[in-house]
Amino acid sequence: MIPTTFEYTKATTVADAIAALGNGDGKILAGGHSLVPALKLRLNQPERLVDISQIAELRAIREENGGLVIGAAATHNDIATNPLVRSKLPMFAESAGQIGDVQVRNRGTIGGSLAHADPAADWSAVVLAAGATIAVQGPKGARKIAASDFFTGIFMTALAEDEIITAIHVPVVAGARATYQKFAQPASRFALVGCAAQRTPDGQVHIAFTGLSDTPHRDHAAEAAVSGKPLDAAAIAAAAAAAGEGVSINVDHYASEKYRKHLAKVYLKRALEAIA
């Protein structure tokens, strides 16, 4: 319940934040809902925290080139209640409303969640299925990382230690249907298995899982079973049969490998039925 000591800097611009972060021994603090719990248990003992929550541009949600740009420091509640998100990316609002509890949603941020890369976090499946891009910035400049390249392992991402996430760019495809379906771990309410699915009018389907494996991922086998086909019972059953195969499945207190894989199939089916 008592963190180790650290220095604290409140950044007012992204450039300030990058300068203050330094290399390796600093940590970005936004909502703090991934970091502060780890600090309290001393699982994480940084030298320095750089608070980016007051940088207005990082909290903004705006339209750009037909898509939406969600600032990294936008809270889950900002996203769940934002009219633009609700009308153009309803899956984002739907999933934001399922994260943690109201207090967590009021503070926790999308950027913080993605950077922390908890293998059971909700956002990972959603950004994967939506084909989003993660905009990051560091001393060497800005770059964009496709969501499908972002998650590299358990609590591991393609983000360098001296970089910060600035925004999530999400394409908005007219006529696309998308949903996030989650079986919550009963205690933590993280995803025991979460499945995000998006179908664009061209018949292409993106399917992504969180909680299922140590790394959130697109399930290409399941996608192949339904992409370009009518979303009928047979196609959905085929996708469910293909889902969760060929990846290492998480095992914990609440779900064995067999059960978790079964849930993946059930929740994939529910997701596809919801967007059919």
């Binding site: 319940m1 008592i2 963190p3 180790t4 000591t5 650290f6 220095e7 604290y8 409140k10 603090l29 703090g32 809902h33 502060v36 719990p37 600090l39 309290k40 248990l41 925290l49 608070d51 929550s53 509640n77 943690g100 509890d101 109201v102 207090q103 967590v104 009021n106 503070r107 205690a187 933590s188 309410r189």
Partner: protein, 179 residues
Amino acid sequence: MHLEYREFLGTLGSNSNSVYMGNKIHVKVNGKDHQHEVEPRLLLVHYLRDTLRLTGTHIGCDTSGCGACTVHMDGQAVKSCTVLAVQADGASITTIEGMANGQLHPLQEGFHQMHGLQCGFCTPGMIMTAADLLSRNSNPSEGEIRHALEGNICRCTGYHNIVKSVQYAAEKINKEVAP
């Protein structure tokens, strides 16, 4: 209760006399301005309880799970155990001590009327979370109330009377608002 240790409250000593290292914060708590130098690692809940001696905000866990420490920060319910005091710089905080305004807040009255509390330990956090709900949704269904309170654990009541307490408050607020 006639327990004489009450005399110690709010006057003497502190839970935390850390050597503070230069982070000055300016916080408005229950309408009152406070300025302190705090260690960056100081949690908002410890700042409220130890520095300001507002002990109505409780600590029930160390993993941000129980909700006993819920306060409002700029009008929204937050778990004050998961906010650093330095993050509250410039913010306006409301704790359970700031809810009654001459008379009990409808939620405080509701919890009393509907027996929404037993040991009282989770109660401040419950009331603060319920207030967040009622500020967004003045007429919540039973399901919406239960969903809104999922981040607050009560071991005494089985939540039955807490739900009724929130319903009582919603009804009272709506009556007051109605012409």
